[in-house]
């Protein structure tokens, strides 16, 4: 069996043996329901789409995903199991990818479990199912980006609380980097091209582009590169800090 697969299996089942997966899925489903129907005015809008549902995903992920990711490496370091893991014939990269994929699958599973919403909107009207499918893919990719940031922050600190807070802050910056709140800080003293770069890092922009139904290489590539970059950063950090 492939090492990444073995790590994946262990991590995945550990999400269910500690109640993390159940809690996460339950909260995710309840919150997305609350957001869609109460704050998103799903019925009042009178449109057969899932926009109110997807619009809140970045904000939902902002707190839920770091909470899920915080234990990834912090716990290994705190309990000392990292010494066991790193002296088994597994490379750090294999462990990293296995851990990421396990948590990402739970996120995917949570998204899949919102299917009654999709069925309902089809029952109520005639939505563009292609757009909805694209939005699901976009949401999952974005969740992966949140997750990779959370995992990287978890590599930084033995304390899960510190890892959580750092992850929320960094994720928050990425969510908002296209908005005035962040851009105003840089306006005036950074060159325009850098400003555009910062603006283009926004989760919101790329997610909205995908959820309009266009799965463009540029947007998918953005999330994939971001995931790879944060996981690699986490890998470098954990190699440095594993024994501390």
């Amino acid at each position: 069996m492939n090492m990444t697969h073995i790590i994946f299996k262990r991590e995945f089942s550990s999400f269910f043996s500690t109640p993390v997966a159940y809690v996460f899925i339950a909260i995710f489903l309840i919150m997305s329901g609350v957001f869609t129907f109460y704050m998103g005015n799903f019925y009042e809008r009178g449109q057969a789409d899932l926009l109110p549902f997807f619009n809140f995903h970045p904000w939902l992920y902002l707190f839920l995903v770091p909470a899920m990711a915080m234990r990834t490496w912090s716990e290994e370091r705190k309990s000392g199991t990292i010494e066991l893991l790193m002296t088994l014939p597994i490379t750090t990269a294999q462990a990293m990818v296995g851990k990421f994929l396990a948590a990402w699958s739970i996120l995917g599973l949570s998204l899949i479990l919102t299917f009654p919403l999709w069925i309902m909107v089809n029952y109520l009207g005639a939505p563009d199912n292609g757009v909805i499918f694209a939005a699901y893919i976009g949401s999952w990719l974005m969740a992966g980006a949140f997750l990779s940031i959370g995992i990287c922050m978890s590599a930084l600190s033995k304390s899960q609380v510190v890892a959580f807070i750092l992850a929320v802050v960094v994720c928050f910056l990425f969510v908002l980097s296209g908005t005035a709140l962040v851009l105003d800080v840089f306006k005036g003293w950074v060159p325009g091209i850098l400003l555009d770069t910062i603006a283009s890092l926004s989760f919101l922009q790329h997610f909205e582009a995908i959820s309009k139904g266009v799965i463009a290489l540029k947007d998918v590539g953005y999330f994939v590169i971001l995931i790879a970059a944060w996981l690699y950063a986490g890998l470098v950090i954990i190699e440095q800090k594993k024994a501390q």
Partner: protein, 307 residues
């Protein structure tokens, strides 16, 4: 074969392991001794590839740890200090996970799992989460994990820490029963363990090697080596006359006990025995000392601390 050459590890200013060199051949069971903070665990962490050495080389079965860590990790079974394990898993799940990582499959895997579980007597806790286990059981799970793939090289960091005397005995028997062509390195504070299971002892202190030889040689360094202890029914007045015997360097009194020390490692038991008979002293017991490990250990490591 493990070859360690001028291994050094420093953390900032602090030198944990200082220019340590030694070889271990197949069949060697090495007791790795030293006070707390002597650098035992650090050395083990470098051999197993968890820590990177500041300088020096580690070679295990001709592989270099820097160049080929994965190959070495496959060969080694390692019990880290404190026996860490994934607490949310049951013992069965955990051992199954390790067996997968070790590349065991199918019938071989189930046979190995079965053999290890019965050798370490884990049947009763197989389906309990590791978090819920007692310290002794946790340690044994760590041990099971280390030997599951029948490794050529076994490195155990304090394998009997926290075990009760019966469990200690069991673990020692397990190590003794390992096949004779393996390399075993055990770190321990318990000196009797070394005489019980090891055929070689290495003592380090402050990261420096102080002794490397058989436990017998180590005992020979004790001033109690070949000494004779006599338990008197009643302490005779003329007990000092023992000092006058040939090759006796001195005596020490404790309650009703007298220890007679030998000069130049000569065997003085007969002389002492005959002297007691001649004097018609009433004794409750008389026995030859082999040497006291803790005594030598203290002497060696105290010396090391003063350098």
């Amino acid at each position: 074969m493990i070859v360690i050459n001028q291994l050094t590890k420093s953390f900032g200013e602090f030198v944990a392991v200082n220019n340590l060199s030694f070889d271990v051949k197949p069949g060697d069971v090495v007791g790795f001794l030293g006070p707390n903070g002597a650098g035992k665990s650090t050395t083990m962490k470098m051999i197993t590839g968890f820590l990177q050495a500041t300088s020096g080389t580690v070679k295990v079965c001709d592989y270099d740890i820097e160049e080929n860590p994965q190959a070495i990790k496959e060969l080694i079974g390692y019990l880290p200090e404190g026996a860490p394990a994934y607490g949310d898993m049951t013992v069965a799940q955990f051992l199954d996970f390790i067996a997968d990582v070790r590349g065991l499959t199918g019938a071989v895997k189930s046979a190995r799992l079965k053999a290890v579980v019965s050798a370490i007597e884990l049947e009763s806790v197989l389906y309990r989460p590791i978090d819920d286990l007692s310290k002794g059981f946790k340690r044994r799970v760590g041990l099971a994990q280390a030997i599951i793939h029948d490794p050529k090289v076994l490195i155990l960091d304090e394998p009997t820490d926290g075990l009760d005397p019966n469990q200690k005995h069991q673990v020692r028997r397990l190590i003794q029963n390992l096949s004779k062509d393996k390399i075993v390195i055990i770190s321990t504070h318990i000196l009797e363990e070394v005489t019980a299971v090891c055929n070689r002892a290495i003592i380090i202190s402050d990261g420096v090697k102080l002794f490397d030889g058989t436990p017998k040689t180590l005992l020979g360094k004790s001033r109690y080596h070949h000494a004779v202890t006599v338990e008197f029914a009643q302490m005779p007045d003329s007990v000092e006359s023992l000092v006058g015997l040939a090759e006796v360097s001195g005596i020490e009194q404790h309650d009703n006990q007298v220890t007679v020390f030998s000069d130049n490692n000569s065997i003085i038991f007969n002389d002492v025995f005959n002297h007691i008979k001649n004097q018609q002293w009433q004794v409750n017991g008389i026995y030859a000392e082999k040497g006291r490990m803790d005594d030598v250990f203290r002497e060696l490591t105290a010396m090391g601390a003063h350098r």
